[in-house]
């Protein structure tokens, strides 16, 4: 049996890229594959993955669960649990195309689900919280089953291999999305396995990440108090949970959540002239001290309305942004943008801790 995340430490960069069409126009996965493939040297073949938003319009009202199963036995057990809690609208094996470079894939299935109203009411929680709890339950207690995508009208496709091969394996040229993000992995602390590839998701959130979170344990202990279970022992998972917790559970607007995870330095807060902002920043750093993300990172957070790109405060990882008409491109390297967008209107590198938020225009949400 191969060693999974958390059991082995391998000391060792990654590539990330993202595209959004703010008018909501959809395009297939060819461009995102071309972009991430250009940064081949940033990965080592131990993980690649994609998140796509807007791909299931015919099932847009249902939760799309993408699940890896180690074998049929665990699949049946997991399905029993799903049937108790959800009405299954449709279920199928996710179509893949044989690729000599992709080997030993698990069973890969997707389920379009409607949570059972009675079950939700019994627990006196809202629908998203119900789905969240079911995802946590399966990922924690159903050994050999791993839900790697659980949002509506979106999906993640990932695995062990170079991202361009993973993209072809999952036939991403047959999907149409208005947001695509991608990741090429160079595992730094743990061996690569299918569940450990990026993006990491929960409900509609997805995160691709280049870097290493040194605040992982502080962040993990914090989210665990709110019912999140870090099953993968990998740093990126906790970033996804932090954003879900801050924005969905604590009802904090996105911009404020960003101030929490990349809080300004105390020195800079002291220099702040506006007294109310100063007070706000101080309280953010006090209340949410454990939600501060430290260590080198560049991330792209995907959600139904747009994407957020963010660097750590002292910018220890690369990040380039470009715009062309209604499209915004984000990548680890400028060349990976230019290869799919030859003549951008604007290209720049955001500063450390400076968020780049690209949202769908209101009329297209």
């Amino acid at each position: 049996m191969i060693n999974k995340e958390g059991k082995v430490k391998i000391p060792s960069g990654c590539a990330i890229t993202g595209i959004i069409d703010k008018n909501g126009n959809k395009f297939n996965g060819e461009d995102i594959i071309k972009s991430i493939a250009l940064m081949h040297e940033r990965s080592n073949g131990l993980g690649g993955g994609f998140a796509a938003y807007g791909i299931y319009p015919e099932y847009k009202d249902f939760y799309a669960l993408h699940i890896f199963f180690d074998d049929f036995n665990i699949k049946i057990q997991t399905e029993d649990y799903i049937k108790k809690n959800f009405d299954i609208i449709n279920s199928e094996s996710i179509p893949t195309k044989k690729n000599p470079k992709i080997y030993d894939p698990p069973l890969i299935w997707r389920y379009f689900l409607n949570p059972k109203k009675d079950n939700i009411e019994k627990k006196e929680i809202d629908e998203k919280e119900f789905v969240f709890k079911c995802v946590m339950e399966i990922n924690k207690n159903f050994k050999g089953a791993y839900i790697f995508s659980s949002g509506k009208n979106m999906g993640v496709f990932k695995g062990v291999g170079y991202p361009e091969d993973i993209g072809k394996f999952f036939l991403l040229d047959t999907y149409e999305a208005y947001i695509w993000t991608a990741h090429g992995r160079f595992p730094t602390n743990t061996p690569g396995w299918w569940g450990g590839a990026h993006p990491f998701t929960l409900l509609n959130w997805s995160v691709v990440h280049n870097g290493e979170i040194s605040s992982y344990d502080a962040n993990r202990r914090f989210v665990e108090m709110y019912g999140y279970i870090c099953t993968l022992k990998t740093d990126t998972e906790v970033i996804t949970f932090l954003f879900d917790m801050l924005i969905r559970k604590h009802n904090i607007p996105l911009k404020k959540a960003i101030k929490i995870v990349v809080a300004p330095f105390w020195d800079d807060i002291e220099k702040e002239i506006d007294p109310s902002l100063k007070k706000e920043l101080k309280s953010i750093r006090s209340v949410y001290a454990s939600a501060l993300i430290n260590g080198p990172f560049s991330i792209i957070l995907g959600f139904e309305d747009g994407i957020l790109a963010l660097n750590d405060r002292i910018k220890l990882r690369p990040l380039v942004v470009a715009t062309k008409d209604a499209k915004t491109y984000i990548s680890s390297e400028e060349s990976a943008i230019r290869v799919i967008c030859n003549n951008p209107d604007k290209v720049w590198m955001p500063a450390g801790g400076e968020p780049i938020i690209a949202l769908l225009k209101k009329e297209y949400r």
Binding site: I314, E334, S335, M349
Partner: protein, 248 residues
């Protein structure tokens, strides 16, 4: 003059091709077209009379360990240009990324526009070898971090009033070399190992020389820049960490 179309050519193949052209055909100059992210272009090259002109976006570590060639990029550069470079000249008609001139030991890099974070990190000098980085626009944070030698010049051309010419933590851990900035900045922009220094004639001479080079390389008239507006920053001590592990 040899022209190479680099579209879809992997970096290893491309760099070997450049080696072959320079070695066998006695070609002095090369034009590279359709460059998309190929890494290590010009690595270790020591052809002092050769010029490589690049159209596109060259990948990371361009001109690393370079020993004397001239590279001109018509576009933006990425990260770590001139990593551990010894000799030669790099001219970028655009902006650049982070860690430009990483551990650079000699030669010069001229950038028309802005640069990212940690430019000139760990630059060093030895006797006659003095690396130079000239930045036309602004620089990100940690400029000249752990700088041990060499020269960084920031001109601040075409930046708006809301933009900072240099980010925070400039010269953090600096123990050698000199940074010239076309603005008088407040102390909090700098690391605690840096102090402002007086100007002398040699500084004026040096700045005039590099500004002239910039004007010629990028066809810009910079007569309006006034040498006396530059501030000069140097390291407080030569060996600030010598006692770090000895005091206990």
């Amino acid at each position: 003059m040899k022209i190479i179309d680099a579209l879809d050519v992997p970096y290893r193949t491309l760099n070997k091709l450049i080696d072959t052209v320079l070695l066998n055909n006695n070609e002095e100059n090369i034009i590279l077209k359709n460059i998309f992210g190929q890494r290590y272009i010009g690595r270790g090259l020591s052809y002092k009379n050769s010029l490589i002109q690049i159209y596109g976006t060259p990948g990371n570590d361009m001109a690393s360990y370079m020993n004397g060639t001239k590279i001109e990029v018509f576009g933006n550069g990425q990260d770590a240009i001139g990593n551990t470079m010894n000799e030669g000249t790099v001219i970028i008609h655009g902006d650049c990324g982070d860690t430009i001139g990483y551990a650079m030991r000699g030669g010069s890099i001229y950038i028309k526009g802005n640069v990212g974070y940690r430019v000139g990190i760990h630059m060093k000098e030895y006797k006659n070898m003095k690396p130079v980085i000239v930045i036309g626009g602004k620089a990100g944070e940690f400029l000249g971090e752990y700088m041990a030698g060499g020269i960084i010049i920031v001109l601040g051309i075409d930046i708006s009033k809301s933009e900072k010419i240099v980010g925070k933590f400039c010269g953090t851990g600096m123990h050698g070399g000199v940074i010239y900035i076309y603005e008088n900045l407040e102390d909090y922009n700098f690391g605690k190992e840096v102090k402002k220094s007086e100007f002398n004639e040699k500084d004026v001479e040096l700045l005039s020389k590099h500004i002239k080079f910039y004007e010629k390389a990028f066809s810009r008239n910079l007569e309006y820049l006034r040498i006396e507006k530059f501030s000069k920053y140097v390291a407080i001590g030569k060996n600030p960490y010598s006692n770090m592990y000895c005091n206990y």
